[in-house]
Symmetry: C2
Subunit: 303 residues, 2 copies
């Protein structure tokens, strides 16, 4: 017998979904931040789900309202990463029977408050008893087809941008992040983005997803990486994950306009590098001009 952890690379969802899709309305299944289904020549629906489990994604000692916020905000971030806006949520939960009812109520107040803030209607769900708290939020959003941004279309010469600061998530902010819906709405309404995703696995791993799916490479400028002061260095900005910031690429011409026009004073915008034609190649240029190769999927220590 082999256990799941021994298999290592085993990806249940990729395995289950690899069969050819039958419905031609599905423009994108597994492999991006959300699935994309055409509903009219101009519009698509976006589908995504994120599951939070007690002792895996949060502890009972955490702020219950922040847990509720995060349960919805992870999926909101996925919708933002596709260029869309959120519409409806289905919330499946499981609670221990002995859980303090106030704790459960604060979780749903957190979900409710965030749903209200982002105009999401909670239209269904399923309540269960279990030993651990489980919250699985399914979110349906919409996107104009001409504003849809996938991971797979980065172009050689594109400028690479990231919102906010990276690497600080596990030092306090991982439950309370702001999904970048407003920033995404501004970006796709005014610019043609070639690729985008939200950073959940860490900058290097997630940029790796764009490079792999677009069959491109990239050069990053170390001095331009927006490292969160709490992150304590480049390693956490590169590898820590759960930043939920937008990582996107667009042409040099559009990039130069964007830098001048960026209207969000509270959300930093950083141009961190360029897309190159050299497939699967990722280079970091240090502040002293020294070039280092980085393996997109792997880990390498940086000071």
């Amino acid at each position: 017998m082999k256990t799941l952890s021994q298999l290592g690379e085993f990806n249940f969802i990729a395995a289950i979904a690899k069969k050819k899709l039958r419905n031609k309305a599905v423009l994108k299944g597994i492999g991006d931040d959300a699935a994309v289904v055409s509903i009219s020549p101009k519009d698509c629906l976006l589908f995504t789900a994120d599951m939070l489990i007690e002792d895996v994604h949060f502890l009972r000692s955490a702020d219950p309202q922040a847990i509720g916020h995060k349960a919805l905000a992870c999926s909101l971030s996925d919708i933002a990463a596709m260029g869309g806006w959120p519409l409806y949520a289905i919330v499946s939960v499981a609670f221990p029977k002995k859980l303090d009812s106030e704790f459960a109520k604060k979780i749903y107040k957190g979900i409710q408050k965030t749903a209200l803030k982002y105009s999401v209607d909670i239209i269904g769900g399923d309540t269960n008893a279990a030993e651990k708290i489980i919250i699985d939020v399914f979110l349906c959003g919409q996107v104009k087809r001409k504003q849809l941004v996938l991971r797979s279309n980065a172009q050689t010469g594109d400028y690479i941008f990231v919102t906010g600061e990276l690497g600080g998530s596990r030092f306090g902010g991982h439950l309370n992040f702001t999904p970048r819906i407003a920033e995404s709405r501004f970006l796709v309404s005014n610019y043609k983005l070639n690729s985008m995703l939200d950073i959940s696995d860490g900058l290097i791993a997630d940029l790796g997803h764009i490079l792999k799916q677009s069959k491109k490479g990239a050069i990053l400028e170390q001095e331009d990486i927006p490292v969160d002061a709490k992150a304590g260095g480049l390693d956490n900005a590169f590898y820590a994950g759960e930043d939920f910031e937008l990582l996107f690429t667009l042409s040099e011409k559009a990039a130069k306009k964007l830098i001048l026009a960026w209207p969000f004073k509270k959300t930093k915008l950083s141009c961190i590098g360029r897309i190159t034609a050299q497939e699967a190649s990722l280079q970091l240029i240090s502040k002293q001009g020294k070039s280092t190769k980085i393996k997109p999927g792997g880990y390498r220590h940086f000071n």
Copy 2:
């Protein structure tokens, strides 16, 4: 502190969703088998989710392929109960790291096989590690607006029908049931159903949902209740739940046509009673013609 089980009637999803919906496309939120969202003058989407948790809904000793089947089939039954057909699924799972990978693979083979059988595309999901196996299936379906059947429109004089046999689920069949998609397609394509749901809580509790939402009563004929031979009597047919059979009502005229036309030789169709104008009244007529009052939400022992 009060625990969730002390609160008893606490319904997390109803509590979270009670706020007024903002999006006018939502025709039905919480309270039916699936949520209903209008996408065109003639068509609606249906959204539902069902979560299965190890040691709550199934044991590790169960057939993993049957667990996978049920994870999807519960939601398929919800879509059938609205008069629609299934389209897309998002599958969120959590597995213990030490789980035999063959067990996990058989679960997804069960999901995959059932998805194929009912033409469902699995278009996304989320994989996690946890102590117990968790499978949460979100399903999106479609329904023609004129074929949509809610719980809330039963009419006085309607005949009450149920498919299949009741009460046998917990005696072997609870993982392997057949969602009544084909029967539902036939029914809504040929008859105007006034109300429908799938029996998950037991006949009496679920008929109670139709009566409450429609503000009607009902008379049931004991001799017409299709009690599964495995059920060992009326009590399990009334209260055991997880039958996943369709319970629906339609006019006397349509009912008489339906009884003659029913084409499913392997699925029994039973007319079990009538809808009455007397709100919240539920009566059972015994084989000897004796009338007994039943409380729709409660339990009462029957021989």
